[in-house]
Amino acid sequence: MATEQTLTARVPLVAYLALEPEPHLMAQQCRACGARFFDRRNGCGSCGRPSFEPVPVAGTGHLRAFSIVHRAAPGVAVPFVSAIVETVDGATVRANLLDVPPEPAAIRLGMAVRLVTYPAGTDSEGTECVAFGFAPAEN
């Protein structure tokens, strides 16, 4: 039981996905105005100040908007559901909506969703990429 098969090295798809202790998103929050960003920052797009602190973002929220994408660049598997999720702590995140058929009738604006992670490929050194998306949440 104690010896699990977790010797595989893992890297998050993006730097703002933290894998431990449980997968969650991390934002850079402006110390002056509280605006949150997911990228490397030079300053705050809201107030212009330069100081940030990392803060966790809630993994639950609701579906604010979506598109079912049928045409994409070569190499991108279609169809997929692109979702804009508003988390319960008020952040906005874009990711695929998972575990639903890519059909309008199966997707309800406002539906509750939760963050999920899954493996998205392995590189030549055996390192596994961990991606995230959102899946319908109970209730």
Binding site: V14, A15, R36, D39, P74, V76, I84, T92
Partner: protein, 401 residues
Amino acid sequence: MSDSVWILGASMTRFARHADRDLLDLASEAALGALEDGGVSVQDLDVLACGSLFAANAGVGQQLLGQIGQTGISVYNVANACATGATAVRVGVMAIRSGEASMALAVGAEKMGKMGLLGGSRGPAEPPKVFEPEGRFGSVRSVEGILGTKTMPGVFAQAGMRYAHDHPDVGFEQFAKVAHKNHQHSTLNPLAQYRKEFSLDEIKASPMVAYPNTLLMCCPTGDGAAAAVLVSGERLRTLSADQRRRAVKLSASVLTSDPYVEGGQAQPDVNTLTRNAACAAYEQAGVAPEDLDLVELHDCFASAELLHYDNLGLCAPGGAGDFIDSGAPYRHGALPVNVSGGLISKGHPIGATGVANIYEVAAHLRGEAGERQIPDARVGLAHVIGLGSSCCVHILERSAA
């Protein structure tokens, strides 16, 4: 400083796939057409502002003068995403308002061919050899199709669905009606890329690009150019009675970028900067949305046009669904929108678009729009938005003289 800015002449090429004509052929046709329409020559110009997005580093403005007359005037080459052409007009307006110029030529030209889908990166068929975090988000591989989409049809689909989230009377049907209207309108426009009417059912059944936008709800890529000659009020008074009669007053010219909003990193906010531009333009012109006789707005996708009914104040707040359902934006409705066919059907050679919609509004205000003329049009609005983002709004008024 000038007291007013007027459109003295305007012209556009047909929007199409001009396989046998290059960017300079198109830009020259539009520029010479606008000069002839205004009754002036290249010798009369003080400044040229030239917009072309995909040839932004080619010095298209100087190349154009090389074909129509190298008078040595200031040239400003501009690129501002889908607001490129309107930004060229805006540069001309600023030059005249500042008093440094009394006559300016604004040109927008683009050669895209069958460029296909814009926005959104390619997805690597295979993961990279070694995962290394790259870029500002520290991504180890392409995120398109994993973390949603950045393709233009998808981004504007999401913008429309966000409106639908807050307004349950809006959905696939209302978005489809926008495309129905614009395809119907373009049948009367000889300069449109497409001139074919489609039924609502045909639009809804056409191949899905990014729900709710089907293929017939997306603008095509293409080639084309448009140009406008701008003149100060003082200089206009020295011109002929016929030139003064046909001149159209540019009573507002506003360019905004996107102010910070929460969530703008995940989904571009196309609303706030449009609302800001519209408010400033109405105030500058001293007109209200109720005064408008026609509007040419940025319908890059059907889902986008619906949002801008609300953003530009054309309908009651939250009433975009009712507005299209009532038929108001059809050419015989209460406030015709995109009687040219819009980007969806007239076409969207990116750099040309923001000058072409000014050409369209001016044609109606002059009573020279032929078969598609909106009767007795006196005031019109032209709007574009380029993601990134820039929004440009111009308000035009028929000459009182």
